[in-house]
Amino acid sequence: MRTMLLAAATAIAASSASFDALAQTKPDVLVKQRQAAMTLQAKYLGPIGAMLKGAAPYNADVVAINATFLENLARMPWDGFDASTKGEKTKAKPEVFSDAAKFKAAAEQLEAATAKLGAVARAKDEAGVRASFGAVAKACGGCHDTFRQK
């Protein structure tokens, strides 16, 4: 009985391990994932920046939609920075992996800043958007300065 249980457990462990291997996303796809998430963030951040600079008329509805997208997109890149992508040709600096704690803090800073922006944007609070936009831009730029090659 005991042997049988052990064999069954081993079989299950082996099959789940092979299942993991199958589920493993390929490194090049992970890179695409994070680049796509970044591209979309810039896409939805840009119009808000233009409105706040006065280059476009302020539209609270567009800001609410964009900021909400941004809030969700800000959580998407990070699991793409898997150790398996170390060999891929990207602009990510090795510090992403060697200074993982700092990278995680930078990611969380962006998530927090975009969550705050999303909340005030959905509340159609223009003054709040103006006040919290800077933190988002700073989170983007600060992380790029440290973790992305020029």
Binding site: A42, L45, A137, K138, H144
Partner: protein, 226 residues
């Protein structure tokens, strides 16, 4: 001053102001370029100033006085080779204006700066900032030009380093004070060499007018009011 030496005016005020303002702005561009995203606005503003200055210097290379003109300091290959051969002896031919290699260095630096400023106009930082002409090209093109902007800066550093090394070599080994001359405009030269060095100078008001033309051109590029 020793006997047999004469003071010769070679650099007019526009050339000297151009040179030292460019040095100052180069340092500012270096610092604001490396300092990170928050300094990009100042990097762009100073970049417009650099582009204005360089465009002015190109115009001055055609309309300025003797030693400011490209035609006077871009020497042919034989003159360059002859000068290079004498460079490592202590008896180089003294030049009132740019020596043959120095002249080509001026052109290389101006070309490098034009490329740097030109690519900067199309560059982007993948965030909220882009050069004033980036909107005219695709993101991929803007990205490529941004890479050129980054790499060409290393080339500029190399050229500027060579330029400074050459000037120090002239000061230390050849006992020629080129740095002082760029401040005062006056070179101390052997009297016989100085005799043939009488230069014509263009009006500083013409320089001011050309600087305004250059600045207006940059303004139109940046603002694109049309």
């Amino acid at each position: 001053m020793q006997a047999g030496e004469a003071l010769v005016k070679v650099w007019d005020l526009p050339v000297r102001l151009f040179h030292w303002l460019l040095v100052l702005l180069f340092a500012v561009m270096f610092a604001t370029g490396k300092a990170g995203s928050e300094w990009i606005t100042w990097h762009m503003r100073c970049g417009y100033a650099v582009l204005s200055l360089v465009l002015f210097r190109v115009l001055w290379g055609f309309a300025g006085g003797t030693h400011a003109r490209f035609a006077s300091f871009l020497a042919g290959p034989s003159a360059c080779i002859a000068f290079a051969k004498k460079l490592f002896t202590r008896a180089p031919a003294p030049y009132a204006g740019h020596n043959p290699l120095g002249g080509w260095m001026v052109l290389a630096l101006l070309a490098g700066l034009l490329l740097q400023a030109g690519t900067g106009l199309f560059a982007n930082d993948d965030l909220l900032n882009e050069g004033p002409l980036a909107a005219l090209v695709t993101k991929a093109t803007s990205d490529r030009l941004t890479s050129v902007h980054v790499w060409n800066f290393n080339l500029l550093l190399l050229l500027a380093g060579l330029h400074i090394a050459a000037v120090l070599y002239h000061a230390g080994f050849l006992k020629e004070n080129l740095i002082g001359a760029m401040f005062t405009g006056v070179k101390r030269m052997p009297a016989d060499a100085a005799e043939g060095a009488a230069a014509r100078f263009a009006s500083p008001w013409l320089a001011l007018a050309l600087l305004c033309v250059a600045a207006l051109a940059v303004y139109l590029i940046v603002q694109r009011p049309f």
